[in-house]
């Protein structure tokens, strides 16, 4: 009983000991914050990586791909069918993207991913990141009339509105086409031939928006269905794609639709707002290498129909999705007899409870590794995930060192307290207290200090994590330096996840250190000879 009472009194009367555990407190708080943020980043990143990549990717090592993806899919289903929820063939190929910005050509090196619009949505969360609400339900490579999100649907109250996206889609395309007809009666040679002369019964009004000039038409016509187009749909799709209209009219027609990464079409200004260089409805040019040896460049014009925004800048600035048929046709990746297209990879979606590496190994065993590679989405982003993991581990080691250093502080102060209390220890012994009881006082003392320190640290850390974005803003306001630059990370907010297991582990570790640091002084106290302790002045 006296242990508890004395321990309590020592706690109440010796604030220096509380000072000694401030470092424990700070260490615990910092560790909780760092772990939560790192956990948040990792989870966010994995989410986004996984959003673009399917669970398992089956790839050919050749850029020409493999023929007859259906047969491959059948074989895959044969070896690992019970784990598989969905599959889709894709063609992944590097290429060049070109478009005009204020009259100057802008060229970017990118990856083209030919996808099957019907099945691709089944294997990844790709459609979740699209900007048109209808496309999020079912991916389509047709240009929508309008209604693209002008507010980031994944963002929060801090996301800047994207007003430019209000002027996207068919409406914008028609306006732009008419404007170009009027301002540029002779289009450049590369442009398609303008079909109709300007119909200007009423002079259009010039409006300006973000440096763009175009005319607002009072009378907006819905394009009449092209009877030729309907007829073509029934025939061979490759022929339809090949059949280049000599009388291409941008006001009523589009090229093949593509979905671009949002960072390819826009950049984020310092103030966090997005500035768009092109929007859905604009045309771009694409060059890809053809299949066969040696590859030759093949170019075509495409119409942007939507953007995707995974918020992983690596993807958003690198990938363009287009219909797999079109890419196969451009590169000549199809069997001339059967017209069955080749594919370079097959995206496989697994059931929720399936184990990725197991499926990977099953599939890999069924195909020669010299020609085909099978990877899980984690394998594909292995170095990145491993780097984040290592970073977290190193930070944890460093921060735990801080707590360990705090342990030595506790040791020194406890030693001091034991020396100060030498006579009291002698008194307790003369009253019949056992050495283990004396040791107990100081161990309990250490435990209580550890509990107080890590408890306060825990609360501090959790409060910090809960308000981390407000704190970042306050710091930015104080220092004038952006703490968390959304133009770099593409997140508006700092993501955090508080993992109860990690927090428990941190708190337990800190308490352990406080106890371990009090063992030495407690042993000294217990071993004091009562007579000598009583004589101590």
């Amino acid at each position: 009983m006296y242990k508890i009472l004395l321990c309590w009194r020592y706690l109440r009367t010796r604030y220096i000991a509380l000072a000694s555990i401030t470092s424990v407190m700070l260490g615990v708080a910092t560790m909780i914050v760092v772990n939560s943020v790192m956990e948040g980043f990792t989870a966010e990143m994995q989410n986004r990586i996984h959003g673009i990549l399917s669970d398992v990717v089956f790839e050919s090592h050749s850029m020409e791909g493999f023929p007859d993806p259906e047969a491959h899919m059948a074989r895959i289903r044969e070896v690992a069918g019970k784990y598989i929820a969905g599959m889709t063939p894709t063609v992944v190929i590097p290429g060049l993207l070109m478009y005009d910005v204020q009259g100057r050509a802008r060229t970017q090196q990118i990856s083209f991913i030919g996808v099957d619009e019907k099945t691709h949505g089944q294997v990844s969360d790709f459609s979740r990141y699209l900007q048109h609400p209808e496309n999020r339900k079912q991916l389509s490579f047709e240009l929508r009339e309008d209604g693209y999100d002008s507010v980031d649907h994944q963002g929060d109250e801090k996301s800047q509105p994207r007003e430019r996206m209000d002027y996207a889609g068919w409406k914008y395309r028609r306006l732009k086409a008419r404007f170009e007809q009027q301002t540029r009666p002779v289009p450049p040679a590369s442009q398609a031939v303008v079909a109709q002369p300007a119909d200007s019964a009423e002079p259009p009004e010039i409006i300006e928006h973000e440096g763009w000039q175009y005319r607002r038409e009072e009378r907006l016509e819905t394009p009449a269905a092209n009877p030729d187009e309907v007829a073509e749909k029934a025939t061979n799709p490759f022929e339809r794609l090949n059949a280049k209209s000599t009388r291409f009219n941008p006001e009523t027609e589009t090229h093949t639709g593509i979905v671009m990464g949002i960072a390819l079409a826009s950049f984020r200004a310092r103030d966090g707002s997005d500035r768009f260089l092109i929007v859905p409805g604009d045309d771009v040019k694409i060059t890809v290498p053809t299949a066969g040896m040696p590859p030759k460049p093949a170019s075509d014009t495409f119409t942007v129909v939507d953007f995707y925004e995974s918020k992983m800048s690596e993807y958003d600035a690198n990938f363009i999705f287009l219909p797999i048929r079109k890419l196969q046709e451009m590169r000549g990746m199809y069997d001339p007899q059967t017209l069955v297209g080749h594919a370079t990879s097959i995206q496989i979606k697994l059931h929720n409870d399936a184990d990725g590496p197991v499926v990977r190994d099953l599939i890999q065993a069924a195909f020669p590794p010299e020609q085909y590679g099978v990877q899980t989405w984690r394998d594909k982003q292995g170095p990145l995930l491993a780097a984040v993991h290592l970073e977290t581990a190193i930070l944890n080691v460093l921060l735990f060192m801080i707590i360990a250093v705090a342990g030595f502080g506790i040791l020194a102060i406890f030693y001091m307290i034991v020396v100060e209390k030498t006579r009291d220890i002698g008194i307790l012994k003369s009253l019949g207290a056992h050495s283990s009881g004396i040791m107990g006082i100081f161990l309990t003392y250490g435990l209580s200090l550890g509990l107080v320190g890590s408890g306060v640290g825990l609360v501090l850390g959790l409060v910090f994590v809960a308000n981390i974005n407000a704190i970042a803003d306050a710091l930015a306001w104080l220092t004038g330096q952006q703490v968390f630059d959304p133009s770099i990370y593409y997140f508006q907010k700092i993501p955090t996840i508080v993992e109860p297991f990690t927090v428990t582990w941190i708190v337990a570790g800190a308490i352990m250190i406080a106890i371990v640091a009090s063992i030495l002084p407690a042993r000294r106290a217990a071993r004091l000879h009562p007579v000598e302790a009583l004589r101590y002045e």
């Binding site: 006296y2 004395l6 002698g426 008194i427 012994k429 019949g432 207290a433 009562p530 007579v531």
Partner: protein
């Protein structure tokens, strides 16, 4: 447990089952019993300082009868305190034996000796030795807290509080229960220390210069308390002092000189 220590009829047996010879001894007896209640046989103790060893006690023989008030006088450094520590099992002799109620206690296990100090031998000191963090009342209850774990202590708390309260009343400190030692005068601290030494109802009280730090009037009061305890409760008291006048108030006085006991 509910008996007030000082309000007892003289000769009333309060200490439970004691050795039979105790019943025959009356208070104020000068003849030590042949088998003393507390006895030292040939106690030797020396302190070592590097290579030099300083002999303090060179074979002390001493017997204290039950209910006797014995005072030991001697000059500073004559080993009075050392002898008292050995009797109270705070220290162990190099040679010789300490007997308590006919049992040898100096070679008992650490735990048994702790228990003896806790329950059967009370001690008071020249510098009072109260715990500065605890109030007078808590200081008095400290031996009970040491004896009992939190659960038992809380079950018996009311009884313990009553007892400590009563003891403080009897030593005349009933009005200063909540005061910390630094808020008490020397005499008050020594009273609290006496109450603490008696709270576990020990059979023997060892007093190490209890008046050494007090003025003569206060010292007298402390001695009067000790005398009353000795007379009314048959408490065996061994008091160490260097003051002849104080020593003279005891039943019997021995002198400690050159490490040996001499009868005065």
């Amino acid at each position: 447990m509910n008996k007030s220590p000082l309000a007892l009829a003289p000769g009333h047996e309060t200490r439970g089952q004691l050795a039979p010879h105790m019943l025959s001894s009356h208070s104020g007896s000068i003849e030590p019993s042949s088998r003393g209640h507390l006895a030292a046989h040939g106690l030797c103790k020396q302190y070592r300082k590097g290579q030099v060893s300083i002999p303090v006690l060179g074979g002390v023989d001493l017997e204290v009868a039950a209910g006797e008030f014995l005072s030991i006088i001697g000059q500073s450094g004559s080993g009075k305190s050392t002898l008292l520590h050995l009797l109270g099992t705070l220290d162990q002799p190099d040679r010789g034996e300490v007997h308590f109620r006919g049992l040898r206690i100096d070679n008992l296990s650490v735990r048994r000796r702790d228990a003896i100090r806790n329950k059967q031998i009370g001690m008071i000191f020249q510098f009072y030795h109260l715990l500065p963090e605890l109030s007078a009342l808590e200081n008095v209850m400290a031996p009970l807290m040491i004896a009992e774990g939190p659960w038992r202590y809380f079950r018996n708390r009311r009884l313990h509080l009553e007892r400590a309260h009563r003891l403080l009343d009897t030593v005349g400190l009933g009005h200063r229960l909540k005061h910390k030692p630094r808020e008490l005068s020397g005499g008050e601290m020594q009273r609290a220390a006496i109450a603490r030494a008696l709270v576990a109802e020990p059979e023997v009280l060892l007093a190490d210069e209890p008046t050494g730090n007090l003025d003569s009037a206060t010292g007298e009061e402390i001695l009067r308390i000790l005398r009353t305890l000795n007379e009314q409760q048959n408490l065996t008291i061994v008091m160490v002092t260097h003051d002849r006048a104080i020593a003279a108030q005891a039943d019997r006085t021995v002198r400690l000189a050159r490490g040996l006991v001499e009868v005065v």
